[in-house]
Amino acid sequence: MQKTILIICALASIILLSSCGKDPLEANNLVPATVDDDSALPALEVNNTRLHLETFGDPNNQAIIFLHGGPGTGDYRAFTRMLERYDGYALTDSFFVIMYDQRGAGLSRRYGDINAAYSNSVPELSLANYLQDLEGIVDHFSPNQKIILFGHSWGGMHAMMYVNAHPEKVAAVILSEPGSFNAAIENELALGIASTNLLGEATNDVYWSHQNISPNNHQMLDYSFMNGFYNGLGPDYYHFSETDLLPIFRFGSVASLNDLGADGMDADGVYTFDFTTNLSQFTTKVLFINGDLNEILTPEFQDKNRAYLPNSELKMIYGVGHDLIWIKPGEHIELVKNYLDEVL
């Protein structure tokens, strides 16, 4: 009898405890609401998706579209310092600036099954869809005028995917430490495992925290992903600043795990994409911008990309790694202004 009472008390305590806490999956508890959770967020419906998108400046000016890194590990929050005024000049003085979070990233719509992401096979997160989203944005905001593209990291690859498909619609391209233009270059990169110190505090924290948080669904996977990146498991070779972190609205973990998706890589994770088949048609000079600290996406690496372009120039920014868009926005704006003054 005594034992039965004890068991009943234990059960009652567990039920009480488990019903008291907040729901970790509810938007704006642990991770922010996306455009599907919060209709007040600025958004655009395009290509059967809903993208978190903002515009800045006069819509009558020529459009410049910013493409962030990732997939999944970046969003347009990383570009926001580039909207500020430097030496009396702001991009919005001359251009209509469009920034958006790609599908599956930032505050744009979430996609996919977690298991599919681990096998790079989330159908909605395909190169074809990334391209069609951008095509839809161009058609919506600048149907009759050539656009300018600014891409960082994967965003640079995304920009070249568009240029390769529509060279006639692009007036100028700025690439800040872009990734590879095709699989031949990317497969040579063979990026290593992020953590270099298995016995370090970062590995320890992330491993240990799996007893507190399980990545069983989108929200908790995003939260776990953030724990990895912001607790020291980010790749050292990019030399991100440790005092002025590259911010993000949300880690799009499924988009990141899915990488380039089934039309950009095969089932073994070997890349198959090629954004260079038609680049010879784009004869306008392309501006490359590189930091000097990045150990992977170096000027020598960019020479491999530049070999596919008839006309390009590389400018260096010193004392900065792969987060150069965040750490050195003023230098970027100066280089962009000078370049656009030249080619437009």
């Binding site: 320890n204 240990w208 799996h210 007893q211 507190n212 948080i213 399980s214």
Partner: protein
């Protein structure tokens, strides 16, 4: 709901045991009033954690003594105590026929993790099931452990608020984690000492992979009986 079901099953197992009979010393088991202190390391949500444990065999008028105790674990010999785990342990023999044995256990768990972006304190329970063979020297079999976190207190730091989500809500969150392990347990008894090795696969409770870290576990330890 899963937690409640497992608790009810355990209650059933404990209740079905009958009055104590003559107890024989067995590897991996404790006789009535026998004590054990142990030290364990390996790969257990950390690489090279250190676990210290105390257990005691207690006769509660069941067929076999139950085992009660506690253990404290810190990861990586990192004694800053910012990350730790504490468990209240219990285990009982559900069925023993000759050398075949089924044991069940339930541990109450408290896990604290301090990260640069948040600190988390989780309260939950382990539910263990062992099926195997035991004699005076050897104890070998399959062991499964399901852990369900009931509630977790999460407090975010400025690093998270400034760089990711300013509006993150601190407080208690329900059912933030569950973990499942299935592996092999081997225990060898040498006089007053038990040497035990355990290893297998580790997944979340819904059998998802972990992010960034291994999905296997392996433990080795020594216990001293007195």
């Amino acid at each position: 709901m899963r937690t409640i079901l497992v608790l009810l099953l355990l209650n059933l197992f404990y209740s079905n045991a009958t009055i104590a009979q003559e107890e024989v010393l067995r590897s991996g088991m404790l006789s009535s009033n026998e004590n054990l202190i142990g030290i364990t390391t390996g790969m257990d949500y950390s690489i090279l954690p250190l676990t210290l444990s105390y257990q005691r065999g207690i006769d509660v008028n069941l067929k076999h003594p139950i085992r009660l105790g506690a253990e404290f674990t810190v990861p990586m010999f990192d004694f800053d105590l910012l990350d730790f785990r504490f468990k209240v342990l219990s285990e009982a023999t559900i069925l023993r026929k000759n050398n075949f044995e089924i044991r069940g256990g339930m541990n109450l768990t408290l896990v604290h993790t301090k990260m640069q972006t948040e600190s988390m304190t989780s309260i939950g329970a382990d539910f263990d099931l062992f099926v195997g063979f035991t004699n005076d020297k050897w104890n070998v079999g399959l062991k499964a452990r399901y852990n369900q976190v009931v509630t977790t207190f999460i407090k975010h730091t400025d690093k998270y608020r400034d760089n990711v989500f300013e509006g993150a809500v601190d407080g208690w969150y329900r059912s933030t984690a569950s973990n499942l392990r299935i592996g092999v347990l081997l225990n060898y008894r040498i006089k007053k000492f038990d040497i035990h090795i355990e290893g297998g696969i580790s997944r979340t409770g819904t059998f998802q992979s972990y992010l960034f870290v291994p999905t296997i576990y392996g433990l080795v330890g020594v216990n001293f009986r007195f």
